[in-house]
């Protein structure tokens, strides 16, 4: 009896939690399928309306912005390029750096490790203007390169990979050496397949991180051609239902990735089997 009671209590708490998470998003979604006049008269809606296609198609294809130069579709394209770029660049560079730190007898290994590690303490927000002026000097404002590279100066993945490599048994390298594998072969044929789960988890993590950037794209893109979705939300004008529709669409890619790839993400980050 008490068991039934406590598990009923657990379900109740979880339902309340899920309710708090889902209802706000649902209401914005339901409201985005109505016309503006419905919202203006009756506020946010609980039930679906009939303007789904009208509103969403218009937002995707309508040219907005101050100079009416960019569609939401193009912003999604930009965000996708930026997020993919950040994910690949930061994961590849981290894999390589962690490999050198663990598998080489480097003279200043601990110094190098600290040089990389300490950067975690200085997020982009703390060096935003100097970083911007460097981008301006290098003529990289309004480019995908400018959107991607400064964000990829991240050492979190390096720490994760370094930690993981340390748990790899020494025998692996010994036997690889017996097989005649050199440093590149060992890295590509042995270590990378072994760290697949963690690579996938880090790719997901960095993709969401890149997609969700707000301040940096705001600063480094003066041309509307390079606007991304998350920063574009603030810049887009339009009627209230179109704003609702844009908000909902902006959430879809990262949520989809986290939900669909949930297992890989959690497996890699927490290293459970």
């Amino acid at each position: 009896m008490t068991k039934l009671f406590t598990s009923g209590f657990s379900h109740l708490i979880l339902f309340i939690g899920i309710f708090i998470m889902i209802v706000p998003v649902w209401m914005i979604f339901a409201s985005s399928t109505h016309t503006s006049s419905v919202i203006n008269m009756g506020g946010l809606q609980m039930f679906l309306g009939e303007s789904f296609y009208d509103n969403y198609l218009r937002v995707l294809l309508y040219k907005g912005g101050f100079f009416k130069e960019i569609t939401a579709l193009k912003m999604f394209f930009n965000s996708f390029i930026m997020a993919t770029g950040v994910a690949i660049l930061s994961v590849v560079t981290s894999l390589m750096a962690a490999y050198a730190l663990v598998y080489y007898r480097i003279k200043y290994a601990s110094f190098l490790f600290w040089i990389i590690f300490i950067t975690i303490l200085v997020p982009l927000e703390l060096r935003i203007f100097p970083t911007y002026s460097i981008m301006a000097e290098l003529n990289l404002v309004n480019s995908y390169f400018g959107l991607i590279v400064p964000i990829s100066a991240s050492a979190i993945a390096t720490l994760f990979f370094r930690q993981f490599y340390k748990t790899v048994p020494d025998e692996l390298l010994e036997s690889a050496k017996l097989d005649g594998a050199n440093t590149w072969r060992f890295f590509i044929d042995f270590l990378i397949p072994l760290s697949k789960t963690m690579i996938v988890a880090m790719l997901i993590f960095m993709f969401v991180f890149g997609y969700n950037q707000y301040l940096w794209p705001l600063l480094v893109t003066t041309s509307e051609q390079y606007w991304t979705v998350v920063m574009g939300l603030k810049m887009m004008s339009g009627s209230i239902v179109h704003r609702f529709a844009f908000v909902i669409m902006s959430m879809v890619p990262p949520i989809l990735i986290i939900v669909v790839l949930q297992k890989h993400f959690i497996k890699g980050v927490f290293q459970d089997k």
Partner: protein
């Protein structure tokens, strides 16, 4: 340290070069520049810069707005850590308890983690707008809520907006922490202690300490830095600067006020704060908890 390693050769630098290159150009160079900004001042016409020692720092200490932002940042990170940590823990314990639907609950609770803070802010806007905001009107009916004028009410606004998605992150990590506790420990404790409430606080919670301290750091960094997008899309500091975090203020002073000296000095103050928290975490807390 590995016993078997490659001998030092040119190839180690090839592996290190990409990351170190990016860090040097886009991290260390800007940091050096930040220090240069912080110790120099541009003259009124922008023709040249002058080395001014600690003047920029003295100015920010003289600025009441800096202390308002400082106070808000401390309160904000404390409250967000407390709220998201306790709700995340509560949900994780319940999800770990149930026999059926564990993975469904997990999926239904982790997705808000993926939403950008700026997007959460835009959404919160709709619930706190005077025109049709449900929460605005609900709170307004109860105690005359008005975040445009009341500091307390604007705190409530940004705290709700800032906590919502962060609950998910706390939930994921606490759940993973709970699942890592060995079954035998829990079973043994069930024999020794019948009261499940007491059992949780004396057995389970101490075992979760590493997760808890990790999350405290995660939540504080979130409240310091990631909430920029939330503040910028909700109150923008309303009523009059009381809901600006230190990062938000530094950005505004540098961007709107074009005062790079002050922005640089504020950034360095932030770096010091982060450094102190990190050292505290390593020295003080890590020594006191037990990892199993």
């Amino acid at each position: 340290m590995k016993k078997v390693q490659f001998k030092s050769s040119y190839s180690q630098y090839l592996f290190l070069a990409p990351q170190l290159g990016i860090l040097l150009i886009f991290l260390y160079w800007p940091i050096i520049q930040t220090f240069r900004d912080a110790f120099t001042m541009q003259d009124a016409f922008g023709f040249g810069t002058q080395f001014v020692w600690f003047d920029n720092f003295l100015f920010i200490f003289d600025d009441p707005a800096y202390f308002i932002a400082f106070k808000f940042t401390i309160i904000y990170s404390f409250v967000i850590t407390l709220i998201t940590g306790s709700i995340g823990l509560l949900l994780a314990v319940q999800a770990n308890n149930v026999m059926h639907g564990k993975s469904a609950y997990k999926t239904l609770l982790i997705w808000p983690y993926a939403i950008a803070p700026a997007v959460v802010g835009v959404m919160a806007n709709y619930f706190f707008s005077e025109r049709f905001g449900l929460l605005y009107h609900l709170f307004n009916n109860i105690w005359g809520f008005n975040w445009y004028e009341s500091v307390f009410d604007s705190y409530i606004y940004v705290i709700i907006a800032g906590s919502w998605k962060q609950i998910s992150a706390n939930f994921i990590f606490f759940l993973a922490g709970l699942q890592a506790i060995q079954k035998s420990v829990i079973e043994a404790s069930m024999i020794d202690c019948k009261n499940s409430f007491r059992r949780f606080w004396t057995i389970t919670f101490p075992l979760l300490m590493p997760t808890t301290f990790f999350l405290i750091i995660i939540n504080i960094t979130y409240a310091f830095f990631d909430t920029f997008g939330i503040i910028d899309t909700t109150t923008i500091g309303a009523p009059s600067g009381e809901t600006r975090t230190l990062v938000y203020k530094a950005y505004m002073d540098g961007f709107r006020g074009l005062d790079l000296g002050s922005a640089g000095a504020q950034s360095i103050m932030m770096m010091l704060i982060v450094l102190v928290i990190t050292i505290f975490q390593f020295r003080y807390i890590e020594g006191k908890i037990h990892y199993n």
